[in-house]
């Protein structure tokens, strides 16, 4: 291998299945050959992305074969749904954006992800992983190895993998995790192998997955909302490398980490609560040259791999194999607790390992196991190393649930009669137990195997759909009635991988409950499999998989698209207009891409079902070429080959950045009558005879500085998209679209109790629930979700508990939140309300310590 710059597709994780890969969490490099060790994980450099987002491109030719009734549009919907899952982690700054369908010749100069369909041999479901250069960058305290490109390969022949299946979806979620820099884990989350994975389409990520990705791409909330446990694993005084340390809560959470070559570990991303902590060895390597459980071993500065540590006995903290003697450790947000150390003992080969659990909600076995505490099948079936022997449960084997939700009776462990090589475990349920995942401990002699989320407790049967009936309502909308059983007001409906918003729920007849939904936009004759997901993790496919209900679209003529302009120079920022015939564009649902990382779509505004505007950036280094346009709305996937030609750069061109900045808040939200900062590509001293227009209305430039042009947005410009043009002397910019938001919200008052305003006489106490009275939270007729809101007090972010509309003024709303204990006390503590990027002015309140 040549020295110098090398590209490493390090640790591409192969979903081969069975036991071939249970590695650690990240693809790691260490900056030194000796301790203390600073890990440099492989990850995307978000600052290298023009808008901080990572794009993924899907091969345009798609799979060569599909399952009966399946379609490329369905496959694409599942890929996009998987990407949305990873993008939706609130404590992670990583966001994935669909960059369009791509051909093999598309230029990829900006880091991104390629989803390919290739010929893989039988037995190989999918493969994925990052490509990196070997260079370590970043700060000394946070080094990393930038991912330059990642690849996710799915089987070209999907004839035996229907895209609507949980298997296919969880496979894509899992593989996509590898492209983001995650290796396998062993805590039953999405990044575990299929042996122990306990996620479902309804709960596709575990806390372990969330913590893992958040650690790689943290937001400020990651440190403030979660806690950390840290310590060291040693044997005879020496650190044990690649020991797996797991924090599990009786309530079902589990987060793991691997030790470094010195045996040091750090369990981050723990939600506040009580945890047991245990350490266990990884199974032996299956392939020569790999680490235990086929971990891709961390490497040092010279590229040499650090060898794994010895195998040892599993134990709970502090140094016991009896969970009843294990210590429960409290975890608080923002707190790092050190000194959770283990001194482990050597052992021989593992005897208990790789346990998979199944249950029977209907006629068929389902994995993971879901047990209905109100049902008549209070047992699960398990397979795994060491569980049975000669058709009977291994003598002396004990199965111990963690926590008090359920118990195993004395005779509750036996061979499963229809298949005695499987283990049957019977349970007694605590009638007061909550629903959710539960962990099991399998114990034999002095061997322990802990299976996080071994089963899920639920209180009802899974939903089941009997029929889907399309109809048109009185408003002319195409809707569908999803009829079945086991629904609730929280049931989510999917059409293949796309959610169908539920607009009403009729539960009156328990045998024929009706969810009325808005089907996603479809394409001509598309056939979508309809499924129902419950918040308890259950899926209607648990019982409907053999004959899943479908919805067939009948849109008649397929749509087509056109784009104007048809060419842009390299280095430009410009508006493009896309018009369609027989199209169904929808704001917030329609995505646009050009299949190459050289052309970036910053934002889309849908003006009508057949017209949209988009801001496009062409990379300065883009070579002259033509790009294919893809516009996707639901299942409507429209492509236009040779849509946009990239021309050579115009060095003298005037380029404006459409991302206006509010000079008061320093956020990208501007409003009519307010001020905005506009950045351009030429020196400010050459901006002569400057003219700025918004929707052809002149805007007044106030000042010019190295930061940009400060100007006033015309007061008559309405909210929504506005076309901005700049002329400076003989140079004219290409038009761009800017978003004009409503004015920022205004905090009117803060109350500590009904009618009691916070002031010097009635200060706000830490930990107290407060009510913020605010106006202008949103534009008329638009609801604001709690998830879009943030309240900052003294620099500390708070997530509101709820929004209550005022009875008196429709423009006024009341926001409830609890004052964090980390807010600094004072007599003039600023409180701000933020909706997206719209930030109120500071409202000063008095804060005192808790009573």
């Amino acid at each position: 291998m040549a020295n110098g710059r090398k590209l490493w597709l390090a640790g591409v994780a192969l979903l081969l299945f069975p036991g071939s890969a249970f590695p650690g969490y990240y693809f790691l490099h260490y900056t030194s050959a000796t301790g203390p060790f600073t890990p440099a994980p492989e990850k995307f450099d978000l600052t290298a992305q023009p808008d901080g987002m990572v794009r993924y491109f899907v091969a345009a030719q798609g799979p060569s074969k599909l399952a009966p009734g399946d379609s490329f549009e369905s496959v694409l919907s599942q890929i996009r749904a998987a990407a949305d899952i990873w993008s939706g982690i609130q404590t992670s700054a990583l966001h994935l954006v669909f960059g369009g369908l791509s051909s093999g010749s598309a230029v990829r100069s900006t880091p991104g992800i390629d989803v390919l369909f290739d010929e893989l041999p039988p037995g190989v479901v999918a493969m994925a992983g990052p490509t990196v250069k070997g260079d370590i960058v970043g700060s000394p305290g946070s080094p990393f190895v930038p991912i330059t490109r990642a690849v996710l390969i799915l089987q070209k022949d999907l004839s035996e993998q229907p895209s609507f299946s949980q298997t296919f979806f969880s496979t894509v979620v899992h593989e996509m995790g590898h492209t983001l820099g995650l290796q396998h884990s062993m805590t039953s989350g999405a990044m575990s192998t299929q042996v122990t994975r306990s996620t479902t389409r309804s709960e596709p990520l575990s806390q372990d997955d969330i913590a893992a990705l958040s650690w790689l791409y943290p937001t400020p909330e990651f440190a403030t909302r979660t806690g950390t446990l840290a310590g060291r694993v040693t044997m005879n005084g020496s650190g044990v490398h690649l020991a797996s340390v797991v924090a599990i809560s009786p309530g079902g959470l589990a987060v793991s980490a691997l030790t470094d070559p010195d045996g040091v570990y750090r369990l981050s991303g723990l939600l506040p609560g009580q945890y047991y902590v245990y350490v266990h060895p990884l199974p032996a390597a299956l392939q020569q040259g790999l680490g235990p459980a086929d971990v891709v071993l961390p490497v040092g500065p010279g590229g040499s791999a650090f060898p794994p540590g010895p195998v040892f006995l599993t134990e709970f903290y502090p140094g016991t194999q009896d969970v009843l003697r294990a210590e429960v450790l409290p975890v608080a947000a923002g707190v790092v607790r050190q000194g959770i150390d283990f001194a482990v003992q050597a052992r021989g080969a593992l005897e208990l390992y790789g346990v998979t659990t199944y249950s029977f909600p209907g006629k068929y076995a389902v994995k993971p196991a879901f047990l209905n505490t109100n049902g008549n099948r209070p047992f699960l079936v398990a397979s795994g190393g060491g569980l049975t022997m000669n058709g009977a449960a291994t003598p002396g084997l004990r199965v111990i649930p963690l926590g008090g939700s359920l118990a195993v009776p004395d005779d509750g462990v036996q061979a499963y009669p229809p298949a005695p090589d499987f283990l049957q475990v019977n349970f007694l349920f605590n009638p007061f137990s909550a629903a959710g995942p539960r962990h099991l401990i399998f114990a034999f002699d002095n061997d322990l195997y802990v299976l996080p989320a071994a089963l899920h407790l639920v209180r009802k049967q899974p939903p089941s759909i009997s029929s889907v009936q399309p109809f048109i309502d009185e408003k002319g909308r195409n809707l569908a009635k999803v009829i079945g059983t086991g629904f609730s007001a929280s049931t989510q409906v999917l059409f293949d991988g796309l959610p169908a918003p539920v607009i009403s729920f009729d539960p009156l007849d328990p045998t024929n409950q009706i969810l009325t939904v808005i089907p996603p936009v479809g394409s001509s004759t598309h056939r979508a499999v309809v499924s129902a997901l419950d918040p308890d993790g259950q899926d209607s496919l648990f019982v409907d998989a053999l004959a899943p209900p479908t919805y067939i679209y009948d849109f008649g003529v397929s749509g087509s698209i056109h784009i104007n302009p048809g060419s842009l120079p390299a280095g430009s920022e410009a508006m493009v207009e896309i018009t369609g015939a027989n199209t169904h564009f929808v704001q917030g649902e329609t995505v646009v891409g050009f299949g190459t990382s050289d052309i970036l779509v910053r934002r889309v505004w849908v003006l009508s079902p057949t017209r949209l505007l988009a801001d496009v950036r062409v990379a300065p280094t883009a070579a002259p070429t033509v790009a294919e346009l893809t516009v996707v709305t639901g299942f409507e996937v429209l492509s236009l080959p040779c849509a946009l030609q990239t021309q050579p750069a115009n060095p003298a061109g005037l380029v404006v950045d459409p991302r206006l900045l509010n000079p008061i808040t320093n956020l990208p939200s501007v409003y009519a009558g307010g001020q905005a900062v506009l950045r351009v590509n030429i020196p400010v001293d050459s901006l002569v005879s400057l003219s700025i227009t918004l929707n052809d209305e002149p805007a007044i430039a106030i000042s010019i500085s190295p930061d940009g042009i400060l100007f006033t947005i015309p007061p008559d410009v309405g909210t929504g998209p506005a076309v901005l043009r700049v002329v400076a002397g003989s140079r004219t910019s290409l038009p761009v679209v800017v978003q004009i938001d409503p004015p920022p919200p205004i905090v009117l008052a803060v109350y500590s109790a009904p009618g009691v305003a916070v002031d010097a006489s009635h200060p706000a106490a830490l930990g107290q629930t407060l009510i913020v009275k605010v106006s202008g939270l949103s534009a008329p007729g638009i609801d604001v979700l709690v998830s879009q809101l943030r309240i900052t007090v003294g620099g500390v972010d708070h997530v509101p508990a709820g929004i209550i509309p005022s009875d008196i003024d429709p423009d006024v709303q009341l926001i409830q939140f609890t004052l964090s204990s980390t807010v600094p006390a004072g007599t003039s503590v600023p409180l701000e309300v933020r909706v997206g990027d719209r930030l109120s002015s500071a409202f000063l309140i008095v804060v005192v310590p808790a009573h």
Partner: protein, 183 residues
Amino acid sequence: MRRTRVARLIVALVSGWVTLHATTLSRLNLDEMVDKSTAIVRARVVATRSELRGSLIYTFYTIQPLERWKGTVSASSEIVILGGEAGGVRQSFAGSPQLAIGDEYVFFLWTGQSGLTQIMGLSQGVFRIQPDGRGGYLACRAASTETLLDPKTGRVVYDETLRMPLVELRSCVKNRVAPARAR
């Protein structure tokens, strides 16, 4: 506690597979590997080279067949494994078999429409041959940690192999291949 008596359950993994396929896991038992392989050989690895094609690297291992148990394999065939080193670029796939030049293996091979010959289930289709210390040979493969249920029979599909005499593996393969030929 009332123990539920399950008279008959079709024990199949329903992770959404319409065809009640036993596995989301794509685990191949020995019979399946024999049936789906286009060729099965005992061979020695004699050379290797890697090539960058698009965004993927393919490593080609040249093998010298010593015994042909199924299918046609020329005197100097190439097996492809994704990953490797080419043009200063290195790609590694965790769990991929690592073949050593000079070593002998039994390969379960599959040639797809592309014409490339790959190993069945990657490491599943590779058995390393090593002396058993008693004058004979063992065929060794990585252990699996999983067992599956066959949806058609409801019975356990055992994890095959691990270490078995080469003569036994040869016999199993040829017995499986022979009835097919007779048909």
